[in-house]
Amino acid sequence: MNISSSRPLLAPAGHHLLRLGDYSLMLHRRSMVVALILSLLLATVATWILAAGDDALTPSKALLAAFGQGEALQVFLIQELRMPRLIAGLLSGAALGAAGCLLQTLARNRLATPGVIGIDNGATAFAVASIVAVPTSLAPSALALSGAASAAILTFALAAGGGARGYRFIVVGIAIGALFGALTNLMLARSDMDAANAAYPWTVGSLNARPADSVLLLGIGLAAGLPLAKLLVNALSLMRFSDNVAIGLGVRLQRMRLLTLALCVWLTALAVAVVGPVGLIALAAPEMARHLCNRHGVPVLNAALSGALMMILADWLGRTLLAPIEIPVGIIAAVVGGPYLLWILLRQAPRSST
């Protein structure tokens, strides 16, 4: 974070410095170790989930089947049913985790997550509308995207003046969420049972047979968004301090804010378009990452990894607990994550944010 560049930069203790011409990237050693461990854990859990719940499959067989080797039935099970679901879970979890981390940093409040400020509800309302109320040729996931964007824009526009932080921003978000929630309730109350059933996955969040094209879009969006988020991290970690400090350290505040916000909405919207409202992942994943890294930084990559891990674990629980009836992943996340959110709220010291 040294600004004068006349002397060669030296990495502070616990960091590595990566140089490429004029650009240099500082890497936190512990974060890297955590990222490595999380990736390994993720790979193990993913493989295990691919094989779980079927006597005929071992993890190694499941891996082989993923590449088309083995019995036809197993290959079909893995390639057509479990892999797409796993990938959808990994990608959406990662996107939500990263988006949550970005918004928390931006708002200087660990409780400010996309779900809390109404983005999830906006997406749900639009998706449900496309199914039960307004006959349209657009797919629900396309509308979920526009719903998420409109909720975010509404929240920020109405909270304007107070900056994208502090209580005003969050309470306006809650109000916007309540509005869209009422809209969803209204549409469901007026629709018939079959349409309400069709809209059901969108109201609770589910990974069962999600549309392949929106998963693809999410993949592309994530591939572009994550590196961008990582690039923003340095400026972001300065923004954790007060505005004056950040400006003093040379952050172009307004532009950074807008960019971060756009990125956050982009990632959330793409994820919600796939999985529906599973907002609690965006709250819990950055917490876990921060806890593991044990420092006051912006662990955006580790948050993404944690989010992916949480999402696939929650989905696995939902698939197995009441089989053959599936519990949608959003319900698992809320039942497990709700008490966790309460715990953070009660334990948090008054003024320490992020």
Binding site: A175, I327, L342, Q348
Partner: protein
């Protein structure tokens, strides 16, 4: 502390006139074919049997229920805001209503069907919600933060919502019955609803009257309150108990209706200032006003059908919530 714009008798009389007008409107307007004139004739003793039936058997009962529920929620809102010293506190937002309705859903799921049983269960559920509120506000440092309380309520509500969905997965049979407990409504409640919820309302109001003075003293600080001979902790407990009884009664009678407890104290404070001794009485008139207005709107918006009134109050209440946080530096009450 907001300055009073009106004297209490002035505000009370204006509100009473409003309430009277809204009651008449509620009797004259509806989703059916019986328009204003036939309704008026029926009200004044006309002989059209259909009109008489609709005015006296349907709209009358519904108006009474709105009065009762509005009164309970308005009073509960003022009490909750006073005891948490938080202008955002609202039984719906803080998860008290969610606690009540989840308790009823659970009871139905376990096989309870008697409507009067719902009252006790709902009160228990809202009591749990109130205990949570108490926990959060007594937490050091957290209690001063208006937002954290609201967030805790939102977290609690969403958790209970997910648990309800889980119950529905176990037992699809009651799924349809439970949809009612997600959005409140005043229409089509069983006729005996009034009979069994009236004692709940009276009990809650009695409790509220007992704590008004200590609460007002508490607003000046714990020391002052103790000096005046009031027990702060006992006052808080008593207030939350009153809130639990009132919200439990309202929820058992009409399902969860959000935002009344936010809108009413907001208006009351602007009219007569923030002293609870002035706002409590006014809110008992304002609550029914707001709910009746929302109910009349819910009947007229999609004629010949109706909307659940809980949807209408959310559409009115959310903008007010935004207005509250935009216009104030969130003074502690």
């Amino acid at each position: 502390m907001l300055a009073a714009r009106l004297s209490v008798p002035q505000a009370l009389s204006y509100t009473a006139v409003c309430l009277l007008l809204l009651c008449v409107a509620s009797l004259l307007l509806g989703a059916g074919d019986i328009g204003i004139l036939p309704s008026l004739q029926a009200l004044l003793g006309g002989s059209d049997e259909d009109a008489r039936f609709i005015v006296f058997e349907l709209r009358w009962v519904r108006t009474e229920l709105a009065l009762l529920v509005g009164l309970a929620l308005g009073a509960a809102g003022v009490l909750l805001q006073a005891v948490t010293r938080n202008p955002l506190a609202e039984p719906g937002l803080l998860g008290v209503s969610a606690g009540a309705s989840f308790a009823v859903v659970l009871a139905i799921n376990l096989g309870a069907s008697a409507a009067s049983l719902h009252l006790g269960v709902a009160m228990l559920g809202s009591l749990v919600g109130c205990v949570l509120v108490l926990l959060v506000t007594r937490m050091r440092g957290v209690g001063d933060d208006p937002v954290r309380l609201v967030l805790a309520g939102a977290a609690f509500s969403s958790m209970l919502g997910a648990l309800s969905s889980l119950l529905l997965l176990w037992d699809q049979r009651t799924a349809d019955e439970m949809r009612f407990w997600v959005i409140g409504a005043l229409a089509g409640r069983p006729l005996d609803t009034l009979d069994w919820s009236l004692p709940g309302l009276l009990g809650g109001l009695l409790m509220a009257l007992l704590v008004v003075r200590p609460l007002a003293a508490l607003a000046l600080g714990e020391r002052v309150a103790s000096g005046l001979g009031h027990h702060p902790q006992l006052t808080r407990l008593g207030t939350l108990l009153a809130v639990a009884i009132l919200v439990g009664t309202a929820t058992a009678a009409a399902g969860p209706i959000a935002f009344i407890g936010l809108i009413v104290p907001y208006i009351a404070r602007r009219l007569v200032g923030s002293d609870i001794r002035r706002t409590l009485g006014l809110s008992m008139l304002l609550g029914p006003c707001v709910l009746l207005l929302a109910d009349v709107i819910s009947r007229l918006l999609v004629r010949p059908y109706e909307l659940p009134v809980g949807v209408v109050t959310a559409f009115v209440g959310a903008p007010i919530l935004i207005a509250v946080v935009r216009n104030h530096r969130l003074p502690t009450l």
